[in-house]
Symmetry: C2
Subunit: 571 residues, 2 copies
């Protein structure tokens, strides 16, 4: 694909003749779904199809500013802005949606080349949509169709986008997942004016906090390609960190929005189950209700998390999806009085796996700073951590991964290393084989939730601050301990991760003194593994971030508290 | 038990020495749980224990006004008032809680004698609690502790009340269910000032829309003892219809609040899952999340449904039970402008089982009247009715009733006839034996929900009016078709049943002409059974009522719409 104005003239026709567009003929769709051959061959075909829609690009750039350095000054300025500013610029006609979308298509191409973060490409359709939004605005005295008018948004692979494939990391699904309609979250964003221009990588099985599959291969971290961008929304994390996207749609059942956000130095929100629409997703274990995944945003700033949720909930998705809570978004709650003092629960260690030194120092520093700013800090006892982990894995693997095996058998593909680890080390000892075993698991989950709520109320918390993982962005295939994020999936509390800096890769003597590591003998084999994963130089340039956790159905309050926390930390 | 002022003096001590009171000693509790012997013997002991706490009473009274006729004029006036008026009278010190509670204890005794609706009795504790509330008020310048200050409330047997047994209809549970704490709904009511004075009958297994068990026997309908009061909150229905209670706590997983309310000529609300607290209940299939039961009120008027919900939600139960939606009650929405015109969906027939003539005439008349009052009526197509029934029974019987059998084996008791019917005719063909079969069932449920929501939105409804059952209060052991209520458990929409009159037991010629019955050849064996259950004289004096259904999480709007519907119907 060449980015020039030729697209402009041909856009409307181009869209209807593209095999993955809305107007695709039956023949086109058949051609698109004709991925045949060995699993290796299918993956290669899929990658080839993607390459054909991208263009050639240099491979030796400095990743931290690669996109900006390769674009024009004007384009670099565009991709440097957050979504709410871009929306304001487009609404005020300082920028066109076409300009903005084109800049992000270019940056996404660069990001793909650097990190292998994209899957399905619909630049042509996105640019045509952008042009059509510009035309609408021109013909309606500058009026926009919604709060995201003209802003490009990227979408995780397993979330349906009309007319596009979404194999979700399984080779055997390639070509068989062309969506008839948008997932509801995508529909709401499009109705709010968003431009969809690409889909992003997720790992095989989706149940991983890294991003690797046999269709597209491994996604790497733009800050340091020897590290993972996290997962399962790792394509989103890498793409947004490269500014190849400004706002992404991710999903999270155990940390899959928050781990990529932390690993890539951006923001990620895991909302309460049912707060945002979740219909129109592909992936294993549909109907597994013990722990439900959620849709949520990844973004470059706090304000854009608010914009994403508010734009979707303005569309009243509860009128289209029965699981969505009838609960309008209250933006005013995201801006509390700057003088408000919070009661903040603190977790330094979850009782199962100590965190690496840069993370414990970040927690220590945040704790000191918040205290100095007048907030009250209270230790949180993660008393049911082990049970929480077991409930999560038993829920997600209650069929001992049989469904994953079934999807892999479609193509004969092997499990990627981390799925293999899950299927070996994390499956319950036996398949749940009676309804009552499933019911008992739900009761165990509710027991964890009840105990957590009792502690929250006893401490009378506003919010809870904790690490999001025991390591910075993990080395490839090494992530093992999910509990810092997954425990909030079990309690169903909204949680947001936010960046606070980058790690140098060097421990100064005073830092070494502050955070002796390992702090104790390993308490279990996973902690032992995490201990071995500590070597400062491995994590050079890795982003450092933390996690803030709120109460069920109170996403706005949580974002409001994060505003206060960030103000204190940056003061 | 003798109702005299002697109780007054001894109340505080009496409470602490009663074996089922809060202050029971370990020995007392052991004695209370020492039900041994055959299942027949255990049931007889339980009935004997109850009789010992009641007094002798005449058995030949006219049931429709029995309680009032046997009480003093003052007491009869008290039991004739709804809860919100009693609360106002107590708050204004026109009545004491003791007077009110005593009147209801007496009426409850009469109701028990007439219908066999009570299980556990705690009149002494209730009267002591009433006295203590009166004392509080006297010592605090008339101040009350909450909106239910001094109002007696009855509680369905399987809902925990501290210090009391709750065998929930299983012989083998007798004496083993003495609760350490109140169920959360009960706690909230008590904190709002309610006086707990008795528990009420539910059927063996709880999964029945009649009320019969081997512990206490069959509960009958106060309007006509050859009929059932419905179930599973049938004890509540019978007790409240007799004015032996003014407000009751029931539960509903398939119609268990609404069927008793309809059968007894009172009001019953099934709220959205999670709207009211549900923790602290005993009963089978804990953790079965596919279709969850809910707690809700049975009452003598619409205003009391509002009072019940508002009193509980004022206590912010979401701070104590993680499943409760963080959603304060908005009483103002229960009083819409009297001029508001509604869009009302109408179901005359659910496609599976035609309703008996008095019910179809009630629907016809309501439809005509509402139309004349300016409301818009729109036919609802119950398109997924069969699937909805199958989802419900597969969910509740996914273990093919194995858990019921287990509880029955504890004592060797047999299944009562309707449980036997369920276990024979309604169990799925095989036990769900893999997690994925359970997931598939959840997906089927969600498909029903999504289709129903789409139709609601397409019709742009405010509310939906329909029968609550195909028959009036059923003849004992004859109820078979639950779908008119259970379909709203599958969609998880709030639904309220309300009385509109009583049936004469005679079909006038013009009535017979209006409602030809049966209207068509039977469409299935259950409809055939229901056809055979029609003989006008069987239903003499049976209450007639209908059901109004709203949208998820919008109980207040539903009650507001019912106010408009009732205004039109009574005009």
């Amino acid at each position: 694909m060449v980015f020039d104005d030729a697209l402009d003239a041909q856009a409307p026709t181009a869209v209807t003749t593209n095999p993955i567009s809305d107007g695709a003929s039956a023949d086109d769709l058949e051609a698109a779904s004709s991925f045949k051959g060995t699993w290796q061959h299918i993956g290669a075909s899929k990658q080839q199809a993607r390459e054909a829609l991208l263009g050639p690009i240099e491979d030796d750039a400095d990743l931290s500013s690669l996109a900006a350095s390769l674009l024009t000054d004007e384009e670099a300025a565009i991709i440097g802005k957050p979504a709410h500013i871009l929306a304001a610029d487009i609404a005020a006609r300082r920028l066109t949606s076409y300009q903005v979308t084109l800049a992000f298509c270019k940056a996404a191409t660069i990001a793909q080349d650097a990190t292998n973060c994209l899957t399905e490409i619909c630049f042509r359709e996105g640019l045509a949509q952008a042009r059509s939004l510009d035309t609408y605005q021109a013909e309606h005295d500058g009026k926009t169709i919604g709060p995201l008018h003209g802003v490009p948004v990227s979408v995780k692979d397993h979330i349906d986008v009309k007319g596009m494939d979404g194999p979700s990391g399984f080779v055997g699904w390639c070509g068989n997942c062309v969506a008839d309609t948008n997932a509801l979250a995508v529909s709401c964003l499009v109705e709010a004016g968003a431009v969809i221009y690409c889909k992003t990588a997720n790992p095989q099985s989706l149940l991983s906090i890294e991003t690797n599959n046999n269709v597209y291969g491994r996604t790497t971290n733009p800050h340091n390609r020897t590290l993972s961008p996290g997962g399962s929304s790792g394509g989103e994390g890498a793409l947004i960190a490269m500014r190849g996207s400004v706002l992404g749609v991710g999903t999270d059942i155990a940390g899959s929005i928050r781990i990529p956000a932390l690993s890539s130095g951006i923001y990620g929100l895991r909302p309460t189950i049912g707060r945002l629409p979740h219909s129109g997703l592909r992936g294993p274990h549909s109907g597994m209700d013990t722990i439900l995944g959620v849709v949520g945003p990844l973004a470059t700033c706090l304000a854009d998390l608010n914009l994403f949720c508010s734009a979707i909930l303005e569309r009243q998705p509860w009128r289209r999806e029965p699981q969505v809570l009838t609960l309008p978004w209250k933006t005013e709650l995201t801006s509390p009085s700057p003088d408000r003092k919070l009661r903040i629960g603190i977790i330094l260690d979850d009782g199962l796996c100590a965190v690496h030194p840069p993370i414990s120092r970040a927690m220590n520093k945040a704790t000191r700073t918040l205290k100095a700013a007048g907030h009250t800090l209270l230790p949180w006892d993660p008393v049911l951590a082990k049970e929480s982990v077991e409930v999560l894995f038993t829920a997600c693997l209650q069929d001992r991964g049989e469904e994953y095996h079934e999807h892999m058998r479609l193509s004969g593909e092997p499990a990627v290393p981390l799925l293999q680890w899950l299927l070996t080390e994390r499956v319950p000892s036996k398949t749940l084989s009676t309804p009552r075993e499933v019911w008992d698991l739900n009761v165990r989950r509710d027991t964890v939730k009840t105990a957590a709520l009792a502690q929250w109320e006893q401490l009378n918390l506003d919010v809870l601050l904790c690490p999001g993982a025991p390591t910075l962005a993990p080395r490839h295939d090494q992530s093992r301990h999910w509990n810092y994020t997954s425990m909030w999936n079990v309690t169903d509390w909204p949680a947001v991760t936010f960046p606070i800096g980058k790690y140098s890769g060097v421990e100064a003597p005073e830092e070494e003194a502050e955070t002796r590591y390992p702090p104790h003998p390993p308490r279990n084999p996973i902690e032992e593994h995490v201990f071995k994963e500590w070597s400062p130089e491995w994590y050079r340039n890795a982003p450092v971030g933390l996690q803030l956790v709120g109460q069920r159905m109170q996403e706005e309050e949580l974002l409001g508290c994060l505003k206060l926390v960030e103000a204190a930390l940056s003061a």
